[in-house]
């Protein structure tokens, strides 16, 4: 391995001197500070940086908007952050084909803005603002609209990746329907930078809905919340999102309805009719939608956020177990939200009692292991992560996950230690 100075020179030689800098404390990933941050401006530059990284055996962490670095365990080693900040070009948007191709560093908001003129949207709505396409793919971020449109895996149609040694490979295409070759786009979805760097991606688009309303029902308790969600899910109303806000005081199940102007009234009426047996129903006003609507990014004030994945029809049991365990551990009533239609529940804790929090996480995992599901930490202090890993329910596929990692990153240089199983 050469000197720090020599390495800086080499990196500058690849990306230009303005695009390499020494890292600062702000670049730390879960407490681990890298030596450099480099910003390649093209796929070729990423490839050359990775060749150098392989030659020097550097541990690399890819970074997009840096909005989700709190997800995952701390890296075992970190030398170089490869930022996609300069990879911000939308290469193609063909409205008639309802697709686009873009570099990974394009921010979701910018993309949506750019394509809004053609009344289209990428049907992804993760809560974090400033996220890039690459980061959203790598972390498999999703939001309320997943109920109707699915997640990244359902929308991505092509990808270009750069592996640890600079190998550039693409998979998929720019057409919506394609089964040629293995679907590496899906493999890289949720891979959290451990298989390689996502350089570009192609997605399918959807028409932007013309009108929207949000109908909400006050749910007295877990059973009513589940019954209300189930009523919508099993109806023919074709909701866009079914969301839960389950606080100590206010317990609301909100349903986002989208349609054409001639269809929205009937949908709204149908939702009212379905929900009224479970509690008080109302259509939210514009102001209420701004803070209670499904598409409002939740304010993250909690130090600890758990994501519980469970069968959607187990919602009541999930809510009961969360509230009950929190109470027994002496924790304040957790802030609970979730995508009730798809079985995702977020639990926010702000406890300083780490023993209680760790016990809470373990109990949730124990319950879900028994009943089906998984519990991951979306956000937690490092000290808690040292006691209970980010990841859970490693399942019998962990061996296969490990073999895939070993094939794609044999030297273990890509975000080592951040993923499940210590990968």
């Amino acid at each position: 391995m050469q000197t720090q100075k020599g390495l800086t020179e080499d990196l500058r030689g690849i990306v230009g001197s303005d695009s390499v800098r020494e890292a600062t404390a702000e670049d730390a990933v879960e407490g681990v500070e890298p030596a450099f941050v480099v910003e390649p401006g093209s796929v070729e530059e990423i490839s050359d940086v990775m060749k150098l990284a392989a030659h020097e055996n550097l541990a690399v962490s890819p970074r997009g908007g840096g909005t989700k670095t709190h997800i995952g365990d701390p890296p075992r080693q970190l030398d170089l952050i490869v930022s996609t900040a300069r990879m911000n070009e939308i290469m193609e948007h063909t409205p008639g084909d309802q697709i686009f191709r873009a570099e990974a560093g394009v921010k979701l908001e910018d993309l949506q803005e750019q394509i809004s003129g053609s009344d289209q949207m990428l049907a992804l709505d993760p809560p974090e603002s400033g996220a890039t396409l690459g980061g959203i793919i790598a972390a498999n971020s999703s939001g309320p609209r997943r109920y109707k449109y699915g997640t990244v895996r359902d929308l991505i149609i092509g990808i270009t990746v750069v592996l640890h040694d600079g190998t550039v490979a693409k998979a998929g295409s720019k057409v919506v329907k394609n089964v040629a070759g293995y679907d590496l786009s899906k493999l890289f979805t949720g891979s959290l930078g451990t298989l390689g760097i996502i350089a570009t991606a192609n997605f399918r688009l959807h028409p932007r809905p013309e009108t929207a309303r949000t109908v909400a029902v006050e749910a007295a308790g877990p059973q009513q919340a589940q019954a209300a969600a189930q009523a919508i899910v099993h109806s023919q109303v074709e909701a866009t999102a079914v969301e839960l806000h389950y606080g100590e005081e206010e317990k609301l199940l909100t349903v986002l309805l989208e349609s054409i102007p001639g269809g929205i009234d009937a949908k709204t009426e149908a939702a009212h009719f379905l929900l009224k047996q479970f509690g008080e129903v109302r259509t939210l006003s514009d102001e209420e939608v701004d803070h209670l609507g499904p598409l409002t990014p939740p304010e993250v004030t909690d130090e600890i956020v758990l994501k519980i994945g469970a069968p959607p029809a187990d919602l009541a049991a999930v809510l009961e177990s969360v509230v009950d365990a929190a109470e027994r551990k002496g924790l304040a009533h957790p802030r609970i939200t979730g995508h009730a239609g798809t079985g995702v529940t977020f639990v926010g804790l702000s406890s300083e009692d780490e023993d209680a929090a760790a016990g809470f996480v373990e109990e949730m995992r124990e319950i879900r292991t028994r009943k089906g599901g998984n519990v991951t930490l979306q956000r937690a202090p490092l000290t808690l992560k040292q006691r209970v890993s980010t990841w859970d329910n490693e399942g019998d596929y962990l061996g296969l996950v490990r073999r895939v990692k070993e094939k794609f990153d044999p030297r273990g240089g890509m975000n080592p230690g951040r993923f499940l199983g210590g990968l």
Binding site: K174, V175, A180, Y182, Q236, F408, F419
Partner: protein, 484 residues
């Protein structure tokens, strides 16, 4: 392992009736739906349980015997073509529906279950299984999974990969693993299920499959519209998509296809140069308004004849016409080759123009059927096998057509797979690095490359990790692969 010992070992697992080894009986399995390729397998085995599959695969692994899984054998790319000196594992005896979970909108089935049975099983509950390949009355869910099958309704509802939520998989070393979380969202780890679906049997065998069920829509409206030519029909398709309408299906057939279909099933198609079948479904008010708009768009594009399905029976007739298209070719041609290419929708007119040029050049007729909404073309190249050289010419023409798709930014295949048939074309779409990286995945799942070897990739790579003293891999010896 000697063949007779292998037969005995398989019979120990499956009993005598589960093992086929007589030459004449083996010939039944020499090809799948693509009959230009034929290989007689060494042995055919018919497991009845996941445990059977596991023991068969374990035996193959221990003995270094390649195997190929087969469902109903309807594939059109030779994906289930047996390998010489290999075992064909036929899953058509694994036909149990294991669990229906309406509250979570899931169903768990064995791989041999026929696609349409799934919808039939849950119809009374107001649910169905959305992916509907034209072969759905015979093709199996396991085969659909392996090929990532499409269908006429995938424009709105997605492909098989969007509906398979979990799978119990026997890996090529005989171990069992569970991919995807089934009823639960977002399994932690790589999306290995996403990579497995559509891998054409090269990564292992699914023995239990969890599918997503979709609620039947409140309202369905279907129309059939005739146009002077494909240009006019294409204009209507662009108009509908441009309007922000997402129909459940938009299918197009050209004049030649209609001729064949008319002769075969007599649906009473209009006398037109092209026909569109358009279906909208969803909440009533939404569908009504959009259906009205679709009618207007068809008229704006000078539709010559518009028929609206009055009831389910008439709707079924429209769909029968479409789904009969491939088979109907027998009415107008001795032989035909089904091509499966994809283009960006906006390139439709240019590519159809190119296809008719090519047809003229090759002096062959091409009938066009396609999923117009998602740009998936099925040009049917008509030929007569009895005429010297015509089959070769047809194959060459079919190749030229798919190259035209690629030149216009499309893909080699939208739903039939690469299999045996198109692996030679893979380098037209992917670089060596692309294919080598894809094969890293293969090496993780199947380091000895015994699961459906020789498919998808023109030059299979070995994974360089055979334990023990070096010995040439049987595939390498046979000149099928080269060392990585």
């Amino acid at each position: 392992m000697e063949r007779s010992r292998l037969i005995r070992a398989m019979e120990d697992i499956l009993g005598n009736e589960g093992v086929i080894h007589e030459h004449e009986q083996l010939r039944t399995y020499e090809c799948d739906g693509l009959m230009n390729y034929r290989v007689i397998p060494d042995l055919v085995v018919l497991p009845e349980t996941g445990e059977h599959v596991q023991r068969i695969v374990r035996l193959c692994y221990d003995e270094g015997i390649p195997f190929v899984a087969r469902g109903s054998g309807t594939g059109l790319s030779g994906g289930a073509l047996p390998v010489k000196s290999g075992v064909l594992i036929v899953l058509s005896r694994m036909r149990k529906i294991l669990e229906v979970d309406i509250p979570n909108q899931r169903i768990v089935v064995e791989p041999g279950v026929i696609n349409i049975w799934v919808s039939q099983e849950v119809a009374d509950e107001g649910y169905y299984y959305a992916p509907d390949p034209a072969s759905q009355i015979v093709s199996s869910i396991g085969g659909n999974l392996a090929e990532n099958s499409g269908g006429v309704h995938c424009l709105k509802y997605g492909f098989t990969t969007n509906h398979v939520m979990g799978a119990e998989v026997v890996l090529p070393d005989g171990s069992v693993t569970h991919l995807g979380a089934g009823r639960v969202p977002d399994a932690p780890g790589y999306d290995l299920l996403g990579a497995f679906v559509g891998s054409e049997g090269t990564l292992g065998i699914a023995t239990k499959i969890t599918l997503r069920l979709v609620r039947t829509p409140e309202s369905v409206r279907t129309l059939l519209a005739g146009f002077e030519d494909t240009e006019g029909a294409g204009g209507a398709v662009s108009g509908i998509i441009g309007e922000g309408i997402v129909p459940a299906a938009i299918e197009m057939m050209d004049r030649l296809t209609m001729e064949a279909v008319e002769a075969a099933v007599h649906p009473g198609l209009p006398d037109a140069g092209a026909v569109l079948i358009i279906e909208l479904d969803g909440p009533g008010a939404e569908v009504e308004e959009q259906f009205g708009r679709v009618l207007e768009i068809c008229e704006e594009n000078e539709a010559t004849d518009i028929r609206i399905a009055e009831d389910d029976e008439e709707r079924a007739l429209f769909w029968k016409a479409r789904k009969a298209a491939f088979g109907a070719m027998g009415r107008i041609s001795n032989d035909y080759y089904v091509q499966d290419g994809v283009i960006p929708r906006t390139e439709l007119s240019a590519v159809l123009g190119r296809i008719s040029e090519l047809a003229e050049e090759y002096e062959l007729r091409v009938a066009n059927v396609f999923h117009a909404g998602d740009g998936n073309l099925h040009p049917l190249v008509l030929y007569n096998n009895a005429t010297e050289g015509e089959a070769e010419r047809a194959e060459k023409l079919a190749g030229e057509i798919v190259f035209a798709c690629l030149e216009h930014g499309g893909s080699l295949t939208g739903e039939h797979g690469i299999g045996e048939d198109k692996k030679k074309y893979m380098p037209k779409m992917f670089t060596d690095d692309d294919m080598n990286v894809m094969q890293l995945l293969r090496c993780a799942f199947d380091p000895h490359q015994i699961s459906n070897p020789g498919k998808i990739f023109p030059t299979p790579r070995l994974c360089g990790e055979r334990p023990g003293p070096f010995q040439m891999h049987p595939l390498q010896k046979a000149g099928i692969v080269e060392q990585f």
